[in-house]
Amino acid sequence: MLLSVVTPADTDQRRPAVSEVLAVTEPDVESAWRRRSGLNPSLIAGGILVGAVVLTALVSYVWTPMDPTHVVVSDRFRAPGQGGHLLGSDALGRDVASQIMAGARNTLLVGMVTVVIALLVGVPLGGVAALYRGWAEELVMRLSDLVLAFPALLLAFLFAAVFHASTLTAMGAIGIAFVPVFARVVRGAGLQVMEQDYVTAARTFGSSTLGIFFRHLLPNVASVMIVQGTIAFAIAILAEAALSYLGLGTPPPTPSWGRMLSDAQNYLAQSSTLALWPGLSIALSVLGFNLLGDGLRDLLDPKLVQRIPPQ
């Protein structure tokens, strides 16, 4: 489905069959076609916002207006546009625009690493539960209940207390908190896949359990994983910002949107716009990933796609 859904030629050729067989009206076919062709507004808006964040992060590696960590105390609390500071400067005279750009790297890193941790641990666990059932499934599900029952924030506190608070402990805590979500989704989708005749057929042709996991289970849960991953990305950005705000995330001097926000809070009287920029960045990137996730869900979720009957 993943690839065939978006093949325009295929859909064009079958469009009359849909209206005849399902007796759907033209507008339905139109909206189904639009949905299949991927032109939904949230996908476009999400794509643009996420694209902007990624582009900013990439550009920051080669160019920022100023050195984001360069402290010029005489230059503190500049208003936006003053002294060459596009978005002003903070309490230590650092350029806010440059910090926002460099902070995008941190944001994306956190999102990616947490989603990768959640995928690497959650998908195999969910797969094992769906493939082997029995006590393995019971163990995985009860473990995930345990993690779900344990607030992610407490886990972050724990990590920060045991190790030193760093981006890594934040990412670890957020990643682990996501593991049960992914394990459950994979198990649920996997159980459905295991019921299918083609899994029995694959076993008939000699596929091992591992082969079934990679060739049948994974491709069939891939679309769900992409959507889940995108939404988890958004939550991870927010979580990292929250942890940095509490001082449990990225330590200085590495620029981080969450810490910029918490720093700015102390100087709201001196410079009211200082809190605006990191806050806006967090809000827009979270919105972007959420919209992208929604858009991808519309595009990829088989339950929402107009199923074209065979023949």
Partner: protein, 322 residues
Amino acid sequence: MSAVSAPTEPVVRVSDLSVRVGTVEAVHSVGFELAAGRRTGLIGESGSGKTLTALAVMGLLPDGLSASGRAVYREQDLVALSEAELCRLRGDRLSMIFQEPLSALNPVQTIGEQVAEPLRLHRGLGGRESLARARELLERVQIPRAAEKLGQYPHQLSGGQRQRAMIAMAISCSPEVLIADEPTTALDVTVQAEVLRLLDRLVDEEGATLLLITHDLPVVAGLCDRVLVMYGGHLVEEGAVGEVFDSPRHPYTLALLESIPSLDQELPSGRFRAIPGAVPGLGQFPSGCPFRNRCPRATELCATMPALEGEGHRAACWHPAS
């Protein structure tokens, strides 16, 4: 397809095979042999245990079902083999074709990938090689524009083409035993005939031993040498196709044959002949002979299950018809 077949060495010897669904026995100590290179039809109504018997032989029973007894293939008891050993045999030496090709093909994998899969698993062929072989196989099962179909997904093929692709997968490693579970039930009548002709030709070319599961009696008559009749999880009659169809012994087989409407004969009462009553649900068959509550010949004797009796043509009935 001769009516009388000389006995050859059996490839698969099933004895005392039972399948349990929870506490209910769905297949009751079935025993039969598949002679090398012969075609055997397994007929019966829905719920008679035909498919469960086949799945038990392949070691593919779903969770919660268990098999006991023996199904010996080349001195290996398939019921007792480990999953890893079964994986080696399945798709290579033993293969199976399913009833519903759309659901038996993975919707997110191309036809080429799927047909090439058994070759990769059992012949160790690489990607390019196995795809080239898959293309040859698709041509062999007469799928038009095979090269193009390799990259297509199951939903892009017609029902007949999908079943042909299934057959291509099943014969890809030249299996010795091929089980076809109602291979044409889900197809149009015209396509059915083509697929059966194809199956007939391929089984001949490969010299495979075929077990054809169906409820379509004419298909068995046209394609098979021997026939097994199942009812209520019991094997009730077995013999060469000609003998069983010409002179059925078990009242169930007789009733099945009589319920085939004839085109050139006026129906005596103006109605189709049917077997009275309905097939009971699982676990609700009467004790003794499972057919006795629908059987016109039933007596008190039928409360105990008769054994399969006879030479060559065997039936499990106290009051055989002929």
